[in-house]
Every structure is written in C-alpha cells, then in structure tokens.
Amino acid sequence: MMEQIIQPWPWYVAGILIGLIVPALLILGNKTFGISSNLRHVCAACFPADIKFFKYDWKKEIWNFFFVGGIFAGAFLANYFLMTDAPIAVSPALQSELAGYGLTDYSYMLPKELFSFEALLTVRGFIIMVIGGFLVGFGTRYAGGCTSGHAIMGLSNLQWPSLVATICFMVGGFLMANIILPWILSL
C-alpha cells in the first residue's frame, strides 16, 4: 500500500478524487469549486484601489482562502513525506525537444533552468514566469474562471459557456506550446 502511495498516482485515481471535490464543497456548505477567484479576493482585500470590480465583501468568500491554505498544506505533506527521489518520467519526444533548448534537469516538477530567482534575469525565464503569470491572472478573470471553475465545475454542471471557455483554454495552450513557446525557449 505504502509502496503505491509513494509512486506517482495514475490519472484515474487523481481524476476521481478531483471530481469528488465538486460534491464535497457543495455538500459541506453550498460552495462552487473555483480557484482563480482567490486572485480576485486578494485584490479586493489588499489593493481595491476604488475599482468597482474589487469592491465587494470579500470576507464572505473567506472559505476559499481556507481551501487554498489546505492546498499549500497538502502539497507540503505530499512533497516531504510521500515522494521518491526518482526524477520525473517525461516522454522521450518532449525530452529530446527540451534538450535542444538546454533543458535537461528532471529532478523536480518544474525545470529549474526556467523557474528560479536567477532565471528571472534571463529573457525566457522572465517571459515564462512574469508574463506567463500575468496572462494566467488576467485571462482567468476575463474568462470568469480557470480549469477548476470552468473546465471541472462548469462542465460538471453542463454549462455551455464553460465549454466555450475550456475549448479556448486548450486552443490557447496548443498555440502557445507548439508555436510560440519553442521560439521563447530558444531566446
């Protein structure tokens, strides 16, 4: 049992557990699953700047900060107690592509060559961390949700606008990963 927990979990185990978050939040307190809203609540709590979009009672949404606090704690527990030292298994096709950009470190979930404080001073590291993060924050709020709010919660509730959003997430991701990112990585 412990041997299986230490190994990476298969997709169906993860999918079932994530899917169950939807009814868990609804039954525990009528809450809809959605993580990117927290970015808005941070703005509302810390920098409302008299912008109408951030003037609402964010304290009513404080449950979501507790939820995110749990994600921190869960990630901490899994990383320190439930992991092996084995490198991440990555498909050979991706490995050979990344090697062309000098990315060969598979010791962590993120390539350390791109995600570190030193990498911020490189052009590609800056684009990936700073511009990428900005697009995540701007795009999710513009779309009214992210993978959790639209792709999982919205599709679970058979909302067609969420299907539109999810298709656009995927189209944007395909374009970036296959067409624009190779150019950025070669900078």
Binding site: G15, I16, G69
Partner: protein
C-alpha cells in the same frame, strides 16, 4: 449597454453561491481539509508538473486528459445525483449552483489564459501547490497573476465582453 452587461457579469462572478447561513469562522476548517486532499493529489499525480502540461499540449501523453476527463465525469455524475435527489448541505440548506452566463470574455480571456497555462505549466491551483511544495520562485508567478487580475479589473469597462 456595455455597462449594464458588465454589471450583469458582476453578479455572476463574485459571491454567486454565498450561502445564506452564518457560521463561526472555524467552520471553514472543513474546506482546509478538502484542500489538503486536493494538494496531495496535485503533487502525487504530478498535475503541478510543467512537463505534464507540455506533454498534454503536444499530445505526447494521455495523463492530463485522463485526469480532467475523469474529474469532469465524476463531477457531472455528482451534480446530477445532487439535483435528482435534492441533496441538502450538511447544514440542511438547499444546494444551488449558479448558471454561467456567456460573454465574449470566455473566448478572449480563455485564449489568454491558455497562453499563460502553457507558459507557466500551471493553472491557479497548482501555483499555490508549488509554494507548499517549497518552490518559492513561483511566488513571482503568483504575484504576477495577482497583478494580471488587478489589471483586468482596472480596464474591465473598456474591454469587449
């Protein structure tokens, strides 16, 4: 007209599902417990891995499609059962799920988020998980994401919806 529409979206994006009931603050710990399970799954199934997201967008691995597809199926069956059997919350309240209203933001914003997702290899949930897993440089990505959200709020009335 545009302003009226934006107002409309407001009511759909903030506090849509706020329960009418008042509870002591420590009741929120139940959401932390759900979050802990979520955080463990994120790390153990390598959903927070930049490499897994790159494989997904290059169609080099089934893993992420399997995760999302299974999650949506389980979520949809759960929502269906909750509605069919009129399941109440543990506090006896009727479960209400607000409908999502369409606006063009789902297209423009969706594409922009897609770009960001492929760049950072993370949607908002995994960003928070990275910090828990000790990858502190991702704090920069989160700060940028907050700045992006704030910028959206600032220019919101001028953007097409």
């Amino acid at each position: 007209m545009n302003n009226e529409k934006v107002q409309n979206i407001d009511s759909n994006t903030a506090c849509v599902n706020a329960s009418e009931q008042q509870h002591p603050g420590w009741y929120n710990v139940k959401y932390t417990i759900v979050g802990i399970i979520f955080g463990i799954v994120f790390v153990k199934a390598e959903i927070i891995s930049w490499f897994r997201i790159q494989e997904m967008f290059r169609l080099q691995s089934f893993h992420m499609f399997g995760v999302i597809g299974t999650a949506v199926s389980v979520g949809a069956i759960s929502v269906f059962l909750i509605k069919k059997f009129n399941v109440k919350t543990i506090h006896g309240e009727k479960i209400v799920i607000a409908d999502k209203e369409f606006n063009k933001g789902q297209i423009y914003g969706g594409l922009l988020f897609g770009f960001g997702w492929a760049l950072t290899g993370a949607c908002p949930g995994p960003l928070f998980a990275h910090i828990g897993a000790g990858f502190y440089a991702v704090l920069v990505v989160i700060a940028s994401a907050v700045a992006g959200t704030w910028t959206y709020g600032y220019f919101r009335d001028k953007l097409p919806h």
